[in-house]
């Protein structure tokens, strides 16, 4: 039983003092899965594991205030997809690997509330977290699925002519509330002060209007270029259901084509936009 092992592992880590906090999944009042933060070994009973464990808990590791408050070692439960974001954070020197214990759990795919497998899980290639990366692995070893990335949904949008494409996106930009849930849930959006929050100078119109919203989502996409690992959290949390993964996957596709780079695969590799090479392709510079 996976959950049994998660609980005993968490308990052992907390009891022997190798971590002072476990970040995992628990259940809230109405029965939804929610992130839980466990300090007392007796509280490990709160931990759960099921197909509703959507949250990419790595998000808390890049939260400065959170790390400040919990300055001891942290044990964190991750799925294969979450592991990618942790690797990006490590490559950007945002997380002290020595201070975290990574508990990787085999994930068989997440379900939405209607019982359908999430789209991101259909395309998943890391069901089983890396053995040499995690400190503990729980669950059966599953052979890596070598999948050719399918970008047909992106091609579909690319094939629209410009006015149609604008209409497609403006339909969502008109409704975007600028609640910033997409930005704040993202483990890779960790700027100390977001450009969206700066008022002097004001870079992006701060009110919820189609012009400002367009710019917000374009800037967000640029800042995630070569970094986004398609964990899909932004799309999941968007209250108006904006298909944000389509933006993310577009930039993933471009980075793959231009630089033959996939983020989150290797923590030693820097993202193409953060490094310089003499033989970098220049054919797209006018």
């Amino acid at each position: 039983m996976i959950i049994k092992k998660i609980k005993t592992t968490a308990k052992d880590l907390l009891t022997d003092g190798s971590v002072s906090l476990i970040i995992g999944y628990g259940i809230n009042g109405p029965g939804d899965v929610t992130p839980v933060f466990i300090k007392d070994p007796d509280d490990v009973e709160k931990l759960v594991w099921n197909d509703q464990c959507y949250y990419n808990l790595i998000r808390y590791l890049s939260d400065r205030d959170f790390i400040e408050q919990n300055n001891g070692s942290i044990g964190i439960i991750i799925k294969g997809c979450d592991q990618k974001s942790l690797k990006v954070l490590l490559s950007e020197s945002q997380v002290n690997r020595d201070k975290i214990k990574v508990i990787g759990v085999t994930c068989k795919g997440l379900m939405d509330s209607d019982g359908n497998v999430l789209a991101k899980c259909e395309a998943c290639d890391v069901v089983y977290p890396d053995k040499d990366f995690c400190d503990v692995i729980i669950g059966e070893e599953v052979k890596k699925k070598e999948k050719e990335k399918d970008f047909s949904d992106i091609d579909e949008i690319d094939s629209m002519d410009l006015p149609d494409r604008k209409k497609f996106w403006d339909n969502f930009f008109e409704r975007c509330l600028r609640c910033y849930a997409c930005r704040n849930i993202c483990p890779l959006c960790y700027c100390k002060e977001c450009i969206m929050d700066q008022h002097n100078p004001q870079w992006v119109l701060p009110s919820a209007s189609v012009v400002g919203n367009r710019l917000f989502h374009i800037v967000r996409a640029y800042h995630l270029t070569g970094r986004c690992v398609d964990c899909g959290e932004c799309e999941r949390v968007c209250p108006i259901g904006m298909p944000l993964r389509k933006i993310n996957r577009k930039i993933i596709k471009v980075v793959k084509e231009r630089f033959d780079f996939e983020s989150g695969k290797d923590q030693e590799q820097k993202s193409p936009l953060t490094r310089y090479r003499e033989n970098d392709s220049e054919d797209f510079i006018i």
Binding site: N28, G29, P30, D32, V33, T34, P35, V36, F37, Y55, R59, D65, F66, Q69, N171, F172, R175, L177, R178, C179, Y180, A181, R183, N184, I185, E193, C194, D197, H199, Q202, L205, P206, S207, A208, S209, G212, E233, R236, V237, P239, I240, G241
Partner: protein
């Protein structure tokens, strides 16, 4: 005031006749989600639903609104366009009750002109809640699925395709034609039975502890707010949250929604922030609703619609958090 029994087609015909003179807003599907939004015909309107993503406060206190345009030689004030009156269809009792709460602030000691103008030119047709969602907790806050507070006309089902209309205000009287029949005792008791069934379906209760105010300095808030990601969903989708910011965009001065959870909410001009930590931000939201609003206006600023729990990215549950405080 008046009570009428109407068939569904009579009701639809009545509403159809209003499209000429009114802008009609109703619950309507868009890209797989339900919103209160302007509709062109009754075919777009959904009858059976739990709370849409947005709530009706958007039509009185919009997410962003231009206050005035400031040029070197002139100032042009922007008033809301209220030439065409508006009808909001099928608002649920939680949303309409929240509007009464907002009235206390926006039409209180200080009268907010744009809010007041929109309020005066909008008629609200409410629809009773037959099947409340499992996140609803309106009863414990003084509301109920069949409550009518804040509505001009309320519609409650009697049986399939038959409705009991309760005309509650003069504004309501203006839009409902003299028609149908007077309700008979049997019809009233059928509605009463549906009401009881709906009320029984609401299992969740919020119980504010008697020593809630004394808990202000407790470490409890640090613990429960840990998961919060400081986004604005709970406040923006809340029918009773009303904080706003005044910002400049080019020549325009704009009033837009703001949220106590954001990092910029309490940031002062010199960079000082007296509510920097996350738990202070989250605590502010809870205390504003359950303590300060009550002190200032006599009522709790929460109506139990459950949107904050439903849409929270990390599923923080306000009922559990308040009850255990």
């Amino acid at each position: 005031m008046d009570m009428l029994i109407l068939n569904k087609h009579e009701l639809i015909d009545n509403i159809k006749s209003l499209f000429k003179d009114y802008e009609i807003v109703g619950p309507s599907q868009l890209d797989g989600k339900l919103y209160f939004r302007p509709v062109k015909s009754m075919d777009e309107v959904v009858w059976d639903f739990v709370n849409p993503v947005n709530n009706i406060k958007d039509f009185f206190f919009p997410p962003s609104q231009v206050l005035y345009e400031l040029r070197q030689d002139r100032i042009k004030a922007f008033e809301p366009d209220t030439k065409k009156k508006r009808i909001i269809l099928f608002a649920k009792s939680c949303d309409t009750r929240a509007l009464n709460l907002l009235d206390k602030l926006f039409i209180g000691d200080y009268k907010d002109t744009s809010y007041t103008a929109r309020r005066e030119t909008t008629t609200i047709i409410g629809l009773s809640c037959l099947e409340p969602a499992d996140r609803c907790f309106c009863i414990s806050l003084g509301g109920g699925p069949f409550a009518t507070k804040g509505m001009d006309v309320s519609i409650s089902p009697v049986r399939k395709d038959k409705f009991l209309l309760h005309i509650l205000t003069d504004k309501g009287k203006d839009i409902i034609a003299e028609q149908g029949t007077r309700p008979e005792r049997e019809e009233l008791s059928l509605t009463e039975a549906l009401k009881q069934k709906a009320e029984e379906a609401i299992k969740r209760k919020i119980n504010i502890p008697s020593d809630f105010f004394e808990k202000f300095d407790s470490d409890y808030w640090k613990g429960v707010s840990q998961a919060c990601i400081k986004c604005g969903i709970c406040t923006y989708l809340c029918p009773a949250c009303h904080c706003f910011d005044i910002i400049d965009e080019g020549y325009f001065r704009i009033r837009c929604w703001d949220t106590c959870s954001s990092d910029t909410f309490t940031k002062m001009a010199a960079g000082e922030d007296h509510r920097k930590q996350k738990y202070k931000k989250y605590r502010q939201r809870i205390y504003h609703k359950f303590q300060y609003y009550k002190e200032n206006f006599g009522e709790i600023a929460c109506v139990g619609c459950g949107r904050c729990t439903t849409y929270c990215p990390v599923k923080m549950d306000i009922v559990e958090i308040v009850n255990n405080s």
